[in-house]
């Protein structure tokens, strides 16, 4: 039970972390190397993230959700590998 749970939660957490990094790095106008990500994502986020203040809330929300999933995922990973914390 613990291994499956850890893989699933960690996967979701890492995907949301990826979205977070796209948001954050758009703001600092270093969006050059995001283009390596794939033209589809680029076109999608081009339209959504533009102004600074509007994005702070979105960034914090993404960070919160990602940290919840990553936290639980790492806990289940520890339990699955035998470190019963």
């Amino acid at each position: 039970m613990y291994p499956t749970l850890s893989v699933v939660t960690l996967a979701i957490g890492l995907v949301i972390t990826a979205f977070f990094y796209i948001c954050v790095l758009k703001i600092s106008s270093c969006w050059m190397f995001i283009e390596a990500f794939g033209p589809t994502l680029y076109v999608y986020y081009e339209a959504t993230s533009s102004r600074k203040n509007r994005s702070l809330g979105k960034e914090l929300a993404t960070a919160a959700v990602a940290s919840v999933f990553l936290g639980f995922g790492s806990l289940f990973l520890l339990l699955a590998s035998g470190v019963y914390v």
Partner: protein
């Protein structure tokens, strides 16, 4: 030899003391029948006594006294008394009675007294049957004390053929069960018989109080005299589903010491291996469903071990790195995990852990046993219930993801024999919310990481706000923003062109001229709006000095796009007119052929310029 003679002198003095001191009347109980069986097949002397007690006095008695000679009493590891009913096959053992050490006044020092409280007072004339089980360590003395590798292991037992008791004994018998090996010598009193590997003394009739007849039996023992000088058992409870037990052993061979050398050649010689006094294997009985078992020491993993598990138990046979001869020591660690649901239960709002106390190894005597029960963080109201006396204390242990540390209950006991391997209960209170503190700590850790990232990208780390480089950077940001918007608008224009082309294709498919004209009109107005938006952007772009190389390209792009627009519109009009005049398809094709080529070329140039702007 010295030890032997000193003990005999002790016993003679004891007899003297007893006869000299007129012993005050202990109650008027009479033991009508005493049967004693001493089992010395292992390193522990286990004595099982069945006593039939008759109250021949006039008062009812609620206490019974057990006595042992001092040299046995000092080595008493385990004592349990129960009373039973019925005879032979119908014998039932009822509850254990509480036994306490007693020191009655005026008694000689060479006797240990234990007082047993009877379940209900024994009234006049009543009989009661008591079953006493006593285990003694260190009473099988190796004799000779030092042997070579080739010698057999001979030990000596000193006991009394007549039962030492403060009461009158009417009839008694003693049988000593020896291991199936050589009997060197034994004391021959009256009524002594040897049957196979058992020596029977008795029956003796009508003995006075405190009668004592010392006997000595010298025989060969094949048991492993494995003694753990110190055993530390750590039991860690985790509510995520696991009980982890780690045991650290300091093992020593307490039999006859090895004198001379150890020859590996002789030890492994077949068919006559020399070294019967040593032991190689130790068997541990673990609970069923034990997992992740490891056997290691300071050097590393020890691979000489075997495990066999079934639904009732898990048997672990371990072999230390070398065979243990008399006086040799070794140390190792055994660890295993157990499922939590087998050991943790709930009662009356509290949880309790029901786990065995002693070492899981069979036939191991522990001189000093320390059991540490580590409970999860946030446990309160901790209490321990044991069936025998232990010394308790509390500690704190800091482990993974801990804030305040985990409470540890430390139980200590000396001289532990396998009879002590009973279950103890540790009660505590724990609310499930404390379980969430661990993932919350991890979540906060990750969140802090993300916040740092956000702050880093937003914070302005420039030292001077009016330096040329900083201003240039600001300007460049604006240029890029403007370029971005120009690109967006051009993309929208191109989308409008595509729509126009699509309407032409629809026309060729359906022949509906009106919709085609309507599409052209809407596209026309859209394109006009977009070009209006484009103009201020172009103006601002020209005002930036740093964009001096880019603005001509952008203007070129806009001009080309406008040309494309016009050509497309012209083509569209031509095709629609052609359809209105109902001229053939090939005519229309010929008319727009040249226009089409120019359109394609222009489109290509526009795309190239867009790509160039993209890469800035």
């Amino acid at each position: 030899m010295k030890k032997n003679s000193s003990v005999v002198v002790d016993l003679l003095l004891l007899l003297l003391a007893i006869t000299v001191l007129a012993t005050p009347a202990f109650s008027d109980l009479v033991l009508s029948k005493v049967e004693r069986r001493i089992d010395v097949t292992s390193q522990i002397a286990r004595v099982t006594k069945t006593l039939k007690v008759v109250n021949s006095g006039s008062e009812s008695v609620s206490e019974f006294t057990l006595t042992f000679p001092k040299f046995l009493g000092n080595n008493l590891a385990y004592l349990s008394v129960s009373h039973s009913e019925g005879k032979g096959k119908a014998k039932r053992s009822l509850a254990n009675l509480s036994v306490k050490e007693a020191h009655p006044k005026g008694m000689p020092d060479s006797i240990s007294f234990y007082s047993v409280s009877l379940p209900k007072p024994l009234s006049k004339g009543d009989t009661l049957t008591l079953e006493v089980v006593a285990a003694f360590t260190n009473v099988l003395q190796p004799f000779p004390e030092k042997i070579t590798q080739r010698d057999i292991h001979l030990v000596m037992l000193q006991e009394s053929a007549q039962y030492l008791s403060p009461y009158v004994v009417e009839s008694q018998s003693l049988s000593i069960k020896l291991p199936n090996a050589r009997i060197e010598s034994y004391s021959k009193l009256e009524n002594t018989k040897v049957q196979g590997s058992e020596i029977k003394y008795g029956p003796y009739k009508n003995l006075a109080q405190y009668s004592y007849a010392p006997i000595v039996v010298h025989f060969e023992s094949k048991a492993a005299f494995a003694v753990a000088e110190k055993l530390v058992r750590e039991i860690e409870v985790s509510h995520w589903g696991n009980v982890q037990v780690t045991e650290h052993y300091n093992l020593v061979h307490r039999g006859a010491q090895l004198k001379g050398e150890f020859s590996r050649l002789e030890y492994q010689d077949r068919p006559n291996p020399q070294g019967v006094s040593a032991f190689r294997h130790l068997l541990a009985r673990l609970p069923p469903r034990a997992h992740s078992i490891y056997y290691r020491d300071d050097i590393g993993n020890i691979s000489t071990s075997q495990m066999q598990s079934d639904s009732k138990k898990t048997e672990l046979l371990i072999e230390p790195r070398f065979p243990l001869f008399g006086g040799w020591k070794t140390f190792f660690t055994i660890g295993y995990g157990l499922p939590l649901s087998d050991f943790l239960f709930a009662s009356e709002g509290k949880r309790f852990l029901d786990i065995s106390f002693g070492s899981p190894m069979i036939d191991l005597v522990t001189e000093k046993l320390i059991v540490q029960v580590v409970l999860p963080e946030g446990s309160k109201d901790i209490s321990v219930t044991t069936p025998f006396a232990v010394k308790q204390s509390h500690e704190i242990k800091y482990s993974h993801l801990d804030i305040a540390g985990r409470p540890v209950v430390v139980l200590e006991k000396n001289n532990v024999v396998p009879d002590h391997n009973q279950k103890i209960q540790v009660y505590y209170k724990f609310s499930n919310i404390n379980l969430l503190s661990e993932p919350l700590m991890l979540i906060t850790g990750f969140f802090v990481l993300f916040i740092t990232c956000i702050i880093y990208t937003r914070a302005d780390f420039s030292i001077s706000k009016s330096s040329a480089a900083y201003l240039a950077k600001l300007q460049w940001d604006e240029v890029l923003a403007t370029l971005q918007e120009v690109q967006n608008i051009i993309q929208k224009c191109l989308a409008a062109h595509d729509k126009l082309e699509a309407s032409l294709r629809d026309l060729s498919r359906t022949g509906d001229i009106q919709t085609c004209k309507a599409a052209r009109k809407s596209t026309d107005s859209l394109l006009k709006d977009l070009s209006k938006e484009l103009r201020p952007l172009l103006a601002s772009l020209q005002s930036f000095p740093s964009a001096s190389q880019i603005s001509p390209k952008v203007e070129e792009l806009v001009a080309k796009e406008r040309e494309l627009q016009e050509k497309l519109m012209a083509k569209h009009t031509t095709v629609v007119e052609g359809y209105e005049k109902k001229s053939s398809g090939r005519d229309i094709e010929n008319r727009i052929a040249s226009q089409q080529q120019k359109i394609i070329a222009l489109r290509q140039e526009v795309d190239d310029l867009l790509e160039f702007i993209d890469e800035i």
